[in-house]
Structure formats: structure tokens, C-alpha cells
């Protein structure tokens, strides 16, 4: 019995063909209007909203049988959300899966961009909770849509200014708003602002918000500028440490509490990046050399 017969109850990649066509049309318009949120008729998926239903629907609409699929949650391949989405597509699309960023053709991500630069031919699919960058400033969809139409983004700058007035710096540290190709202000999903400069990349970036029913996209080599002020320029931010496992100084780090006496360690949030470095012989302060292990 081959894999196709085993999952015979499901259409390839779970969704029915008409739904895929609807999502595919939205994706094409999204690419044609970078940063603009295209409404789409989001479907019920066999997982709750907030678990990446937007990303899953996009992945289902773009996956081909020959893809190698990778899923990360906050950079990690081995967390519940990542594991269950990976298994889902192994079952319903019979695609090969991988944990290696370099070998993946489609990467679905929750809240991180891989450390390794993506290349042409790779697609990054983001899971987005709230796609509207102006939503916390203006609750009405009618109003925010009008603001995007009129390119009326003053309110967002006021918000960033208030950050400076209150905290002395722009305190927004994730979901940091960007302007795409000089036109639409866009929420890059809750990635740390450390990742913002990587939004200009060679791969295709697709964003899906299932509950909010929005799809948007950034084509390769598209200008993506983090909003800032001349006297308060955008700054990346990370813990001023090195990874305790692999010693990397330039990667985004997670802080892990190790005991109840204030002990802590810092590790790469991108588990594949960290693994690659350790396999290459790099060892951090608390790490164990690969050969000895």
C-alpha cells in the first residue's frame, strides 16, 4: 500500500481544490501588492485558531509533492506546534520533512526568521495572529482600511514617539512595524525586531492570519523599512550574550531558567542553526564538545 492510498480519505494537502484556488488567487494579488492585506475566506482547520491556521492554509495551497517542508515555532523544530503541523503535512500531503533550513523548500514559521539566509526557491510562510499593524491604535476595520487606502500612517509614528517620550527609546521589541516598498505599513508578525532586517531576502515571504482572514506577501528583493525617526534610528536588539551551547555571538538568544537560585543560560532560538554550529565544532560556555558527547 503506498502513501497515497493510506491517506486516501484526504485530498492532497487537506484542503479541497476550490478552497485552494481561492487562497492561491489571494496569494498572487498579495505578491502583486506587497504588504497589502488581502481578505480571504479562511476555513476551519483541524486545529484551533491561534495554532497557525493561517500559515497552514497557505502551506496547503502552495505545497507540491516534491517539497521538503520545515516547521519552526520560535526558531525551534521540536516544539509542540511545530511537530504537530509537520506531522499534519506528512500525513495529508506526503511531503518529505526536514529540520535543516538549508534543505527545506517551504518553511512555515511562528515568530522567527531562520538565522541562515534563505535562497531563491525557498518560501517562508508566517503564522500571523493580528495582521493589522494599526489594530491596537484603531479598533475599527473600516477605519484602518481607510487609513491604508489614504496612506495615513501618522498614528503609528505617534505611537513610536510616545514610546520614546515614556521610555527614552522605541520600546516595541517584536511585531515591529515596517513599510513595504514605500507604500503599505505592515505587521511582520510577532518576530523579534532583531529579525526585521532579514525581511529583505531572496526567498518569497507569505503571511497568513486564519482567524482574521487575511493574507499578505513580500516578493524577493523588496524594500522593507522598519519605521523610525532620524534621531532615533531603528536598532536591532538581542540579549548581550553568546549562546551557551554553540558560542554564537550574532544569533537571537532565548533565556532559559535552569534552577530556582537565579541560574540561567542563553541558547540560540534557532535550533537548526545551533545544531549546525555544534556539529562544526563550536562549543559555548556550558556546552559539551560533540566528539566527547
Amino acid at each position: 500500500m503506498n502513501a497515497e492510498q493510506i491517506s486516501g480519505e484526504y485530498n492532497f494537502a487537506y484542503l479541497d481544490e476550490q478552497t485552494k484556488r481561492m487562497i492561491r488567487r489571494a496569494l498572487l494579488k498579495g505578491l502583486a501588492i506587497p504588504g497589502y492585506q488581502v481578505p480571504f475566506a479562511s476555513r476551519e482547520m483541524p486545529m484551533p485558531y491561534g495554532w497557525g491556521t493561517g500559515g497552514v492554509q497557505i502551506s496547503a495551497a502552495i505545497l507540491v509533492p516534491e517539497d521538503r517542508f520545515k516547521v519552526i515555532d520560535q526558531g525551534a523544530d521540536d516544539t509542540t506546534n511545530a511537530v504537530s503541523i509537520r506531522r499534519f503535512f506528512e500525513k495529508v500531503a506526503q511531503v518529505e520533512t526536514t529540520e535543516k533550513t538549508a534543505e527545506a523548500t517551504v518553511i512555515q514559521t511562528r515568530h522567527r526568521i531562520p538565522e541562515r539566509d534563505l535562497h531563491e526557491g525557498q518560501v517562508l510562510v508566517y503564522q500571523v495572529p493580528i495582521p493589522e499593524p494599526l489594530r491596537f491604535l484603531e479598533p475599527s476595520e473600516v477605519e484602518t482600511r481607510k487609513m491604508h487606502a489614504l496612506e495615513e500612517y501618522g498614528l503609528m509614528h505617534v505611537k513610536l514617539y510616545e514610546d520614546i517620550a515614556r521610555h527614552g527609546e522605541i520600546a516595541t521589541s517584536y511585531a515591529y512595524p515596517v513599510k513595504v516598498e514605500g507604500r503599505y505599513v505592515m505587521d511582520p508578525s510577532p518576530i523579534p525586531k532583531f529579525d526585521n532586517p532579514k525581511l529583505e531576502m531572496a526567498g518569497i515571504q507569505l503571511f497568513g492570519a486564519g482567524r482574521e482572514q487575511r493574507i499578505y506577501a513580500i516578493p524577493p528583493h523588496t524594500q522593507v523599512v522598519s519605521l523610525d525617526f532620524e534621531d532615533y534610528p531603528f536598532q536591532r536588539m538581542k540579549a548581550p550574550k553568546c549562546c551557551d551551547l554553540c558560542g554564537a555571538g550574532e544569533s537571537y538568544l532565548d533565556e532559559v531558567i535552569t534552577d530556582d537560585a537565579g541560574g540561567r543560560m542563553y541558547v540560540c532560538s534557532d535550533t537548526d542553526f545551533c545544531r549546525e554550529r555544534r556539529e562544526a565544532g563550536h562549543v559555548g560556555a556550558l556546552g559539551v564538545a560533540e566528539d566527547a558527547a
Binding site: 485530498n11 492532497f12 494537502a13 481544490e17 476550490q18 485552494k20 484556488r21 481561492m22 492561491r24 488567487r25 489571494a26 496569494l27 498572487l28 494579488k29 498579495g30 505578491l31 502583486a32 501588492i33 506587497p34 497589502y36 488581502v38 481578505p39 495551497a61 502552495i62 505545497l63 507540491v64 509533492p65 516534491e66 482600511r145 481607510k146 491604508h148 487606502a149 489614504l150 516598498e181 507604500r183 503599505y184 531572496a202 518569497i204 506577501a217 513580500i218 516578493p219 524577493p220 528583493h221 523588496t222 524594500q223
Partner: protein, 193 residues
């Protein structure tokens, strides 16, 4: 009933997988304006529809997307094929989500829906049969620096790009190949070497 059987054939034998592959090529094309994509899985529609254009129709059109057939493409065999395979309503240029025809037949671009300021995605996608024309240089999202291409004319595409974020998006088809030109691409006449 030769005509009817022509209308009934030419679809995919394994629609989910074949349309997934074809769509991926269409997605790459729209993400990288001017870059040629070769389709492996092809649909076959009656002449004069090219295999690439037939595949786009099959992958993207359904009862929710009104289709306009321009000029030579507006013939019974093609209408029957689209009605059977896509179920798309056939309409005039003003209401069309997709339009299919040669560049000449598609005519005045002002006739097609450009979207609205609040919903610029509600604009038509034009599937142009045939490639070639005057050499042009493309710049914009999806293009690292610039890319060379050929277009039947430049002024119409410059006017279209000036409407951004409104505007039309284009696919150019020939045989099993296609490339795309979204509204964001800036077109200039290629400098003489």
C-alpha cells in the same frame, strides 16, 4: 459531437497534484517579474489557447471568477471548455477577474477593473497570449537589480504601474512557458547597447 468531446478533454488527470505544481510556477512567476517559468503539468484547451494559458485558467478560475475572452479567443469551443472545466461565468471586460486574449485583442486596458483604493486586490489579471516585442528593462519588487524582458509596448505598462496600488497584473504565455508582470514593476525602454 466532436466539438463536445473537445470541450470535455484537456483537464488534469491528477488535479490536486498537477494544479499544485502549476500554481507553484505561477507563484514564482508573480514573485519574480520577468523570469520565465516552464510548466511541467499542462492542461490542453482548444486553439488558440496556449497550454500555459489553459493551465492558468484551470488552476485559478472557478465559478467565483468571471472570465473575459477577447478577440479570437472568444469562440464556442473555448467558451465550452471553460464552462465545463472551470464553471467560470463569461463576461465583458469590465466585470472580469481574468481576461484572456492576444495583446491586440485585449485592447484598451482602461476597460478592466483596477480595484479600489480600499481593495486594490479586486483588480483584473490579464492572461496575454504570445511573448516578444520591444526590449525593455524591468525594475521593482521581486527583481534584484533589473531584468531584461520584451513587451508589446511600454507606455501602457508605465501607465499601469503609475496607478499603484491599483492596477492590472499580467501573465504572458507561450507554449508551455509563462512569465508575469505585476503592477509594481517599473518598465523602461532598454537602452541601446
Amino acid at each position: 459531437m466532436a466539438m463536445a468531446s473537445e470541450a470535455l478533454s484537456g483537464g488534469f488527470s491528477d488535479a490536486p497534484r498537477q494544479s499544485a505544481r502549476a500554481f507553484r510556477a505561477a507563484l514564482e512567476a508573480m514573485a519574480r517579474p520577468g523570469e520565465m517559468q516552464q510548466l511541467a503539468d499542462l492542461a490542453a484547451a482548444p486553439a488558440p489557447v496556449s497550454p500555459a494559458a489553459a493551465t492558468l485558467l484551470l488552476v485559478l478560475c472557478d465559478p467565483e471568477t468571471p472570465v473575459h475572452l477577447a478577440g479570437d479567443h472568444d469562440r464556442t469551443e473555448v467558451r465550452d471548455w471553460i464552462t465545463f472545466h472551470c464553471g467560470a461565468p463569461l463576461v465583458g471586460p469590465g466585470e472580469a477577474a481574468f481576461a484572456l486574449g492576444s495583446w491586440q485583442a485585449l485592447g484598451d486596458l482602461g476597460a478592466y477593473g483596477l480595484g479600489t483604493a480600499e481593495y486594490p486586490d479586486r483588480s483584473a489579471t490579464l492572461i496575454v497570449e504570445g511573448m516578444g516585442g520591444a526590449p525593455v528593462t524591468l525594475r521593482g519588487p521581486g527583481i534584484r537589480d533589473s531584468r531584461a524582458a520584451e513587451l508589446p509596448e511600454t507606455a501602457a505598462f508605465q501607465r499601469n504601474a503609475a496607478l499603484f496600488p491599483l492596477g492590472l497584473d499580467f501573465y504572458f504565455c507561450d507554449g508551455a512557458r509563462l512569465w508575469a508582470l505585476p503592477r509594481t514593476t517599473k518598465v523602461t525602454e532598454a537602452e541601446a547597447v
